[in-house]
Every structure is written in structure tokens, then in C-alpha cells.
Symmetry: C2
Subunit: 434 residues, 2 copies
């Protein structure tokens, strides 16, 4: 058996980086036997690497300058795990220019600069692998680029942020308030000290941008994705939803119809019968609408040190098995967009809505609210006026029929101005998933 020897330069030895070091060590024999490949960790770079080298780093050369790794002609593959846009972009482009392959888990980088990076890789006949950028080691990138290559994709939807799902699960199953659920997620290591990027939906938006490109063929700008986080969801909303047989999940959704793409991230009401409503805690789940295969579901833990490290190692193994292949024939022609696609504006999108309005408990409230909705052509499917023990303000909870986003926005702005309405109306979209 001919052993394939691959020299690695690791840039970024934080949480995931130390996981990769650990895994390379632990699985050395397995990889040799199963894949006839030996990975040699030749150099590792991190700002504090000399003070605190990762355990099991062995005889790797340690440096604080990433240029040392890019300039080392012995290194075949650069693993970029520092996160952020700079100098991550310079590292990846620099590695490709020096004829090295790249493995990265950096979703922000791929979402923002993917096109430029793929083009550079194509030009240099090198590869970028990025499985762990979406749902960690759960092979969604592999599935979209290779596994279901015989299909076209019409769209996809799913739960792709474990932190938000953990928080919403806590609110639903343990009756936590939003703040309590966030605190519990932080205690258990499932939310950062500053959880902003997760709970405002941006993390999901980055991942969705990557998925949209791979599945639908267009590089979507982050600003063209409609993003809403979960900070405005109250425990009451979750309870009202449950009484209607519905669950609230933060979904990422993309669809292609008639050469137009919609891409959005927002809390979504779904039927409790749908398997996504049973996707709880840090679990992620993605449905891909493939033609002719139909819906394909991938699910698993989409975050965590070792889950992400396993995705990086899968990338390394896949890369090693084909490093002589031209990049353009590997993950399809990643450097090329489908020219004819345009974005559909959010105003044009129709969904059903759950609307909660805190209003004075007086006769005539419902007629005023429904009058405004009617003026904008929004039909009401059901309405419940929740009785709060003699409170002056009561929630009016409604499910609408399908309505245009733009119309709902105008109607809610007008309802908000009514003297009987005591706070900004809450609107949560509802999807009829198959």
C-alpha cells in the first residue's frame, strides 16, 4: 500500500483548532489503515501559541506569524480556523497563491468572500474545503456539492443555529423566559458570553448564504437576506403557539421559483406534526428540496469543538484522496454563478402570520384591528382574545390567511398607532412545510 503523506499548516489553535490537533493524533492509525494517508502537522500558528501550545501538538513548528506557514514550501494544506474576515481572507488567498489547498470552517469568510476565493482556487488549480462552515461535521456541503449531484435544487429550509434552537427549546420545554433560556445556554457552553451574532440571526444568515450558493447557484449578499433573530419572541408567544398546535423555530429558508430567489432567516411557526418541531436543543436539521429525489433531510449536532473538528478532518481526508484533480472538476464549478437569477424582494413574499397585539381590554378593539387588516386585504383565519386576570391590557392573538409581507407591514404600522394598542405588534411568519 502506497502511503499518501500530506503536510499541514494549522492557523488558529482555539477551540476547534485544538480539537483538530487532538483528532489528528487520536485517529492517526485509523486514517493510515482506511485511507492510506498520513497527515503530518508540520506547523501551527496562533497569537499565543508559545505561551499555550495545544496539547498533543508534538514536534510541530510553532509560530505567531501566519506568513511562516504560507511561505513554507513543504506545506500542502493550510487549515484556517481563526475566524473573522481579516486576516482570514489574506491567509486563504495567500495559501492558494502559494499553491496550497485550504480547509476552513469560517462561515463569515465563505459567505462574504466565497466567490473571490473560489475563483482564486480555480485559477490556481487548488481546492477550498469548508464542510464545518455549516452544521459542523454533518456533511451538508458534501451532500449539496456531490451527494445529490444528479439533482437540481428548488430550495431548502431548516434549523442551522444550535444556540437559538437551544434557547427556544428551553423556553418551550422548561417554561424559561428568553433571558433565563439565554443564561442556561451560556452556563452549558451553548451560547457565547456575547451571544449577539447567534440570537440576532446573523450566524444563520451566513450559513444560509453558503447553502444558497451551493444549492441554487447564486452568491447572495448578506444584506439581501431578510434576517430576524429571536430576541422579540416571548414565552407567551410560545405558549399561544402551542395551544394552536404550533411550534416556534428559527428557520433559514431559501426558494427558487421562476429564476428568482428568496432567502430569509426568521422565527417561524410550524406544525407540531412536522419533524422539525421535534428537533430540539443544539440539534440542527436541514431539508433540501431536490428534483427528482424529493426532500432530503440531514440532521445532527451542528456545533461544538469535536463536531466541527470532525468536519475539518473529513475535509482533509477528502482533499488528500484527490489532490491531483483540477479544482474545477471537484465541487462542481464553484467559481461560476447561474447568470439569470435575481433576488425576490421580501415585500413580494406571501406567508401566513401569527400576530399578537397587546390592546386595552375594551369592546370594539377587535373590530378596529380587523378593520385595518381588511383594508390591506389580509384575511383572518382565527382569533383568540386571551383573558388575563382583569389586566387592563390583553393580548389579541390572530392567525392570518396568506398575505403579502409588504401589506402586513403597512397594516401593523397603522395598528401600532391606535390609542388602544399598547406596544409594537409581534408578527411571526408561519410556514406550511410538507
Amino acid at each position: 500500500m502506497i502511503m499518501n503523506k500530506v503536510s499541514i499548516g494549522l492557523i488558529g489553535c482555539g477551540n476547534v483548532g485544538s480539537g483538530v490537533v487532538k483528532l489528528l493524533r487520536k485517529k492517526k492509525n485509523h486514517i493510515r489503515q482506511k485511507f492510506a494517508t498520513e497527515f503530518v502537522l508540520r506547523s501551527a500558528c496562533d497569537k499565543i501559541i508559545k505561551k499555550k501550545p495545544p496539547r498533543g501538538i508534538g514536534r510541530a513548528h510553532l509560530t505567531t506569524r501566519y506568513q511562516d506557514i504560507l511561505n513554507d514550501p513543504q506545506i500542502d494544506v493550510v487549515i484556517e480556523l481563526i475566524g473573522g474576515l481579516h486576516p482570514a481572507k489574506e491567509i486563504v488567498l495567500g495559501a492558494l497563491k502559494k499553491g496550497k489547498h485550504v480547509v476552513t470552517a469560517n462561515k463569515g469568510l465563505i459567505a462574504h468572500c466565497g466567490k473571490a476565493l473560489f475563483q482564486e482556487a480555480h485559477r490556481r488549480n487548488r481546492n477550498i474545503y469548508f464542510e464545518s462552515s455549516v452544521m459542523a461535521g454533518v456533511p451538508v456541503i458534501k451532500t449539496l456539492t456531490e451527494g445529490i449531484a444528479g439533482n437540481n435544487c428548488n430550495g431548502l429550509y431548516g434549523i442551522i443555529n444550535g444556540t437559538c434552537n437551544y434557547i427556544l427549546t428551553g423556553m418551550s420545554k422548561k417554561n424559561y423566559s428568553f433571558a433565563e433560556a439565554v443564561a442556561e445556554a451560556q452556563r452549558n457552553g451553548f451560547a457565547e458570553t456575547d451571544p449577539t451574532l447567534d440570537i440576532n440571526g446573523m450566524d444563520s444568515a451566513y450559513k444560509l448564504a453558503i447553502l444558497v450558493y451551493l444549492a441554487l447557484g447564486k452568491f447572495v449578499k448578506i444584506k439581501d437576506i431578510h434576517v430576524e433573530g429571536i430576541t422579540h419572541i416571548s414565552h407567551d408567544d410560545i405558549e399561544y403557539a402551542e395551544s394552536l398546535g404550533l411550534a416556534i423555530k428559527l428557520l433559514a429558508i431559501a426558494k427558487k421559483t421562476n429564476n428568482a430567489i428568496e432567502a430569509r432567516v426568521h422565527p417561524t411557526l410550524i406544525s407540531k406534526e412536522h419533524p422539525l418541531s421535534a428537533t430540539n436543543g443544539i440539534c440542527n436539521a436541514l431539508y433540501i428540496d431536490a428534483d427528482p429525489l424529493g426532500d432530503v433531510l440531514l440532521s445532527g449536532e451542528g456545533a461544538g469543538q469535536m463536531a466541527a473538528a470532525s468536519g475539518v478532518l473529513s475535509d482533509l481526508i477528502n482533499l488528500a484522496s484527490r489532490d491531483s484533480q483540477p479544482a474545477s472538476r471537484m465541487l462542481a464549478n464553484l467559481y461560476k454563478e447561474e447568470a439569470s437569477l435575481r433576488m425576490r424582494s421580501m415585500d413580494q413574499i406571501s406567508t401566513r402570520f401569527y400576530i399578537r397585539i397587546m390592546a386595552t381590554d375594551k369592546p370594539g378593539v377587535l373590530s378596529k384591528i380587523s378593520g385595518i387588516l381588511g383594508k390591506y386585504g389580509i384575511g383572518i383565519n382565527s382569533v383568540t382574545q386571551k383573558a388575563h386576570n382583569r389586566a387592563a391590557t390583553v393580548p389579541v392573538v390572530m392567525l392570518t390567511d396568506y398575505a403579502k409581507e409588504g401589506m402586513v407591514r403597512l397594516a401593523l404600522a397603522q395598528i401600532h398607532k391606535l390609542p388602544i394598542v399598547k406596544s409594537k405588534p409581534v408578527a411571526i411568519r408561519m410556514e406550511n412545510l410538507k
Copy 2:
């Protein structure tokens, strides 16, 4: 852009074969643009091809002799879709010997002869792709061989036969008897006229053998897999199970512990809280226990003409993108088993059991039955004696604690001999899935 031209010989133009012809035609432009590849269907072979050529076969050469395709030096890839062991084995070996790559959907062939075929492919430096052999185009083969390559597998379980799942769903959701559910599956094209291979569990066993090899590294003989079908499941069992918060599904299960492998296919009681209990109709779902990633779930339609054809096309595209690579560096070293693994015998396996015994409605029945179970060390977790309006025979339904398979078998044989017991006891294993 350099176009990669791949000549195909198709052997077997039945249901899936005509789907492949249709798909190659429909997706021609998509494949050219996205993968820089042009597939040319050069020849097609079938017993009745001249009487009834598939629609859209174009200018392909038509033959009834598969040797014509093997002997054509212009053909790069042979697609084998005739099913069965012979001459499928001769076709695949012959194609490899002639230096051609192979794509097949033939689960029986891979399950029985996989090792010999992989070895021949390795020797000839060619590839065999077989995505559609398990769960049609849902990319489980790709995931196990490449997608989660950075992990070891401890086991897997799931629903991998759509026909049985459709029948059990009909019995559970529509109150059908077994016979009625089979008839409905046949009417809707989800069961063959002779559904034996599906309902006796053998179809699942073939697929499990393939999965076990890819996930756990051992070629398991079909006779070493414990296989039970669904023919002994009655509507009453499904009803009693539901009253206990359980669902009955035909599961394929494999585990590796301490260098021993267990592999089994049988009806299984699972919690109604587990997502598999919501996997209904022809849908398939497979959980892979990966280390360190954790459980990965893949789900989708595991059967049907176009679902299978899409898997064949995915294989072709993946093959075309790397036909210059040595086989051994592609899907891991498929030709090599892990030497140290042995099979665990069924008798050694512990599970919980649901037991239904039809017995005379007399005092003392329960004490006799539980006495025998106790003698074999089998603890009873719960027991219900169902009241059937004054019937002379009543069902005694029990859930046991964990018990060794061999002990349960001995106990039930003895219980069956009791004069008060009116028919063979029904025993269904129960799994505590995560």
C-alpha cells in the same frame, strides 16, 4: 472550459434504467454547465430492447447481448441495472476487467459479492459506485465513505425499506389489517405483486450488509444477520403498542462493541417521542452513530424510479469528476476488511421485549406465565390483560425488562406448550433509542 466526455453503456432498461435515460436527457445542459461533463449514452442493452426501446434513447446502439457493451472499447462506464446475482456479477466483473468503471443499484449483488467486486476494482484501478443500492438517491453511501470520513462509526439504525414502512403506517394510521395494508401498498405501486423480499425483511438485510461493511469495516454474510419480517405483526399489536406510547417499525440495526458486531433486522418497538416513529409511508431514515460527531440522520424517499435514477446520475457525475484517480484512494480502501472483528451471536444480545400471549381467560394464567419468565430470569416491567368482551381467549400483553435473547426464546417455547396458551406467543423487541 474543457468539457469532459464520458461514454456510457446501460445494461438493464427496466423501471430505473428508463429513469436514467430520461434524466440524462433532461439534465444534459445542467450537467454540462455545472460539471463541465457530457454523458453520451452510447449503447443500451435489455432482453426486449428492440421491441420496446426506452423513450428518449436517441441514437444509442441497442443490443440484447451485454457482451457487446463490455467489448466496446469506447465505453468508459457501464451502468448495471438488471438486478439479481447472475449475470449481474459477470457483467460487473467483466466491465472492470475491460477497464471500465461501474455504476450499479444492485443491493443483492453488493451484499453478496461486494468484497470480490471491490477487490477486482482495486486490482484494475477502476471504480464501483452504488449509491442507489441503499435508500435510492439519498446519499448514505457517499456520507459513510466520504462525508463523515473524519469519524469512526460505532453503529447505525433506521428504516431502510419503504414497502414495510408503508404497510406498518397503513396499519397504524388507517386501522388496516396486515392484508389490507399490503393490498393498498400494491395498488399505489409501493409493493411488488410478490412482496415477499420486502415483507420478510431480506431487502433490509441486503442493505444492512452494505451499510455494515462501509460503517463498521466487516463483510457480514446475509445468513449472519438476524432477519425477521413484519408478517407476524397484527393490528392488535400496533394498537397495544400505541396505548403504551410506542410505535412498531421495521428497523435495521448494527452495533460494534469490543470488536464484535451485531446486525439484525426486525420489527421494533420505539418511543413515540423518537423522530423515527414519525417517519411514515415510503420515507426512509438512517441514524449513523459517528465518533466524535454524534448521531447523524439522513432521511428521504428510499425507493421509486426517479429517486433511484437520481442516485445513479449522482454516481456518474462523481465518477466523471475523478476517473483518473486510483480506486483505492477514493472510497477509502473498500477492498480491505478490519481483520479483528467477529460477529456477536443473537443469543448474547439483550433487549427489552413486548410479549403478547393469547390465553384462556381463567384465574391463574398470569401466575403460570410469569412463573416461567421468572425461571429464565426475565423480569416483567408491566403487564396488561386486555378485556375482550367475554371471549374465551384473551391477550396478555407484557413489557419485559432487559433480557437475553436466548433466555426469552426458551421461555416462550415453554409458555407456548402450556395448555392455557392458544397460539404461538408474539415477541417484539424494544429499543431505547437516544
